[in-house]
Symmetry: C2
DNA sequence: ACATTTTATTTTAGAAGTAAAATATATCCG
DNA sequence: CGGATATATTTTACTTCTAAAATAAAATGT
């Protein structure tokens, strides 16, 4: 109970405190980005995230790879991509060698749309974070990286 | 274009990099908490957040105060609280002095439910963060706090 | 008093998300 | 080969969430 040793974050109170301190600003930024994407491009943050993941994968992604990268369920990706196909942002083609799988790829329109949005996204973040001291930017980033690698989630990756 | 001065986080590339480094681990933790609340208590993270906000406010909260604290829209809170009223976790009573407003308060059942969930929540976080060095916990927390205060969102607070 | 505006909330229509069951195809192993 | 199991995705039923319009009560100004 009153043990003096606590090298790590395993004090429940400290863990909750750290979590809330991270969660609040991240939620605020997320909310702000979401509403700006809606206002300026009439597009959801999820769509931007999907375009972003696809842009990094020149050969496209399977539905399952996409749901892994976006951290959402398969069922969610099914609907998200269906709507994006309708809007001409991506294509979704069956693989000949495995008829269960589908390869999703950006269309040219999707690439152009993404490029415009990515530019705005970067500017918005620079603006939102403009008051943060440069030193905090780098060290906060490094420690967030450490957090990612130390995380004990089921699917650590 | 090639200006040498960049004291702050206003280099778009740096800002995006920091954002992604924060967003990834926070999303992973959020996802993990969400699924554990579902598995163990058959309850959404949103409900836990709502109970948590109400617990901090002994005199209850107005619908609008709740949507401010939860960073979600009024319409969302309407539905969320309606379902929680049905399940007996909260009460929602009109104010006599302002008939537009409603005071939401935890019921005794809501308090008990919250207490059990809060305990599990703290344990889960301690477990998830167990590998994080204690020094990182405190300094990451402090810098996240700095981030919160420096944020240039519309509703800065 | 009374029209105007502001504030608090709900409603509406629909996107985004989940868990769990269903479907369909591949793979594995006797 | 054929049955069992594993994999990839969709479907289903539902909650969560948003933006925008609607409702209703309060506050304000002349």
């Amino acid at each position: 109970m009153a043990g003096p040793a606590r090298q790590q974050a395993n004090e429940p109170r400290d863990a909750v405190k750290l979590w809330l301190r991270l969660y609040r600003p991240v939620s605020l930024i997320e909310r702000e980005l979401r509403s700006r994407f809606q206002r300026e491009f009439a597009v959801s943050l999820s769509r931007f995230d999907a375009l972003s993941a696809l842009q990094r994968a020149p050969d496209g992604l399977l539905m399952g790879e996409l749901s892994d990268r976006l951290l959402v369920t398969n069922g969610n990706v099914t609907g998200l991509i269906s709507r994006m196909v309708v809007d001409g942002l991506v294509t979704r083609d069956a693989l000949p060698q495995d008829r269960r799988s589908f390869r999703v790829q950006l269309t040219e329109a999707g690439q152009e749309t993404f490029a415009r949005m990515a530019h705005a996204h970067a500017d918005w973040l620079a603006e939102l974070l403009a008051d943060l001291p440069g030193q905090t930017v780098s060290s906060l980033g490094e420690q967030a990286e450490t957090l990612l690698h130390c995380l004990r989630t089921e699917r650590t990756g």
